[in-house]
Amino acid sequence: MSQLLFFNVFNGLIIGAFYALMALGLSLILNLSGVINFAHGGFLAIGAYIAYMLIPYVGFWGALVAAPILTAGIGLIVERVLIRRLYGRDPLYSLLLTFGLAFIIEDGTRFIWGAQGLQYQIPSWLQSPLSSQMFFLTGYRVFMVGMVALIVGALFFILNYTRLGLRIRAGTLDLETVSVLGVNVRILRNLNFGLGIYMAGLAGVLAAGMLGLQPNIGDSLIMPSFIAIIVGGLGSLPGTLIGGLLIGVASGITTVYLPAASEAVMYVMMAAVLMVRPRGLFGEEGRF
């Protein structure tokens, strides 16, 4: 029993790490630009499919580096061409636009790569279990958690110790003042959007290694990411991170005792948090 519990807690942690990776990207964009990027799951799929195309040429490691960057590039273009026009307008419009984008991306990937699932090769030494006792602890799973930790660490480093990060944080609080101080807000928002999409692309490459590729691969991750943001509190990145891990582990534990409710428990948590703290665990009063 304890091994089963441990297995599911660890599994929950992996899934939670994914939720957090997705949710952090969403959160970055939401905080600075006020846009809920519904197409985030679509960008995740794009990242995964780009990796699928690159792997025969550059191998898994090359794809792991290149695919998220290429995805971010697509994100920069999308922001520049479509989303930039909607800043300052009712959030309704950006939501609808990203909604439409999500449709187009999902259908487009299905058109290009087909509806059936695809697989790609991950290095064989990552696939073997670490020990016979803990058969579920494959190298790939540990590697994924490590990778997410690394990227999240890098993100917080960028936000706290670089000029770009400083500007993003300042812009989140008061974009107008940042603009008045001479920062090009258009470029800032563009880069910030790219950063968010980079994380979606990376999540895609990692997730597809475990779950395989499907056009709707992002679908099952986008809702939990929303919940992670709501539970953690809008406007707080550490909150988003904790929210993601929290709901992941909670749904992992629930799987042990009541498998059917593993999805529902996230919504129950969200309801409970909203009842006690309408702004989320780490959210601040006044914003949003």
Binding site: L30, L92, L97, D107
Partner: protein, 316 residues
């Protein structure tokens, strides 16, 4: 002058709706398409009660649409085979769910409200998807059908006559839309407009804003579940896609496409959207991309909607 225009517009809309089963086939349509437009128009107009007239952005209305649909389908299948009772129960299920979820979200605004409505909406999708024994899971709930209405002195055969069902749907549409129009002209409706225009001022005037938004939310969701209930009866079938998030997006785009600041806008938007989707999906497998494209184009080029543009032309 303005008022007279408004009235004549009303009359034209009702005349078109009442005669639709007779002119639709002449224009290459079919009666079910008309019923579908009426059902979705009701859903979009109900959403607009909240979106356009209260100024609150809900992206989770599909949940209540689907609850109405499932409530009706399950009543027909498991409880009693009575169309009126099924509609009543279906609508009540959606209303109760909205009333319970309402207090959790009415304090939130803007994007935050939208996100929470989306997330809460998905709860019901997962329940419908996973509770296979009762809801049929992904395959949906079939093997039931709507029953003819028996008034004692006469019988309306909505089962076999498409026109009869169209008029039943239109009757409910008229009832719901009429009561929403009535509410919007009442002091309650004016208060909602005040909240939309300036929430802070409304609050300073002593208006209990959260309670008004809650009421508006419940009314809107109830009307949407009525639409969902009719939707289930129209198809004699319901599946989890009726309450998925993309359905919510469809309601919003219909509303925006038609024009959210006008009462009949969502009806126009629903008609355009459904006819377009019907046409596209019969010509290409990749209709989803085109629907997505409609979303993008509407946002970029028609943010005021069809009626919004017409109105602006008329005033300038």
């Amino acid at each position: 002058m303005d008022k007279v225009n408004f009235r004549s517009g009303d009359i034209i809309v009702w005349l078109l709706l009442l005669s639709a089963p007779y002119w639709l086939p002449l224009m290459g349509g079919y009666v079910e398409l008309g019923s579908e437009v009426v059902v979705f128009a009701l859903a979009a107009m109900a959403l607009n009660f909240l979106l356009g007239y209260t100024g609150v952005l809900s992206f989770g209305h599909a949940a209540y649409f689907g609850l109405g649909a499932y409530g009706t389908a399950m009543t027909m299948k498991y409880l009693v085979e009575s169309t009126p009772l099924a509609i009543l129960i279906g609508t009540a299920v959606g209303a109760v769910a909205a009333a319970i979820i309402g207090p959790l979200i009415v304090r939130l605004r803007g994007v935050y409200f939208a996100m929470c409505t989306i997330a809460f909406g998905q709860v019901f999708y997962f329940i419908a998807f996973q509770w296979r024994d009762v809801t049929g899971g992904d395959d949906g709930l079939s093997a039931w059908h709507r029953m003819p209405l028996n008034f004692g002195f006469a019988e309306l055969d909505i089962l076999n006559s498409n026109k009869a069902f169209y008029y039943l749907a239109l009757a409910f549409f008229a009832l719901a839309v009429g009561s929403m129009a009535f509410l919007l002209r009442s002091p309650f409706g004016r208060t909602l407009l005040a909240i939309r225009e300036n929430e802070r001022r409304a609050r300073f005037l002593g208006i209990p804003v959260d309670r008004h938004i809650w009421l508006s939310w419940v009314i809107s969701c109830t009307m949407v579940s009525l639409a969902g209930s009719l939707y289930a009866l129209l198809n004699d079938f319901v599946d989890p896609r009726a309450l998925r998030w993309d359905q919510s997006g469809t309601f919003v785009i219909m509303t925006v496409l038609g024009g959210m600041r006008s009462f009949w806008g969502p009806l126009v938007g629903a008609a355009i959207f459904i006819v377009l989707r019907d046409y596209i999906s019969s010509h290409t497998e990749n209709w989803q991309s085109f629907v997505g494209l409609i979303f993008v184009l509407v946002v970029l080029f028609f943010p005021r909607g069809v009626l919004g543009i017409i109105r602006r032309r008329a005033t300038s």
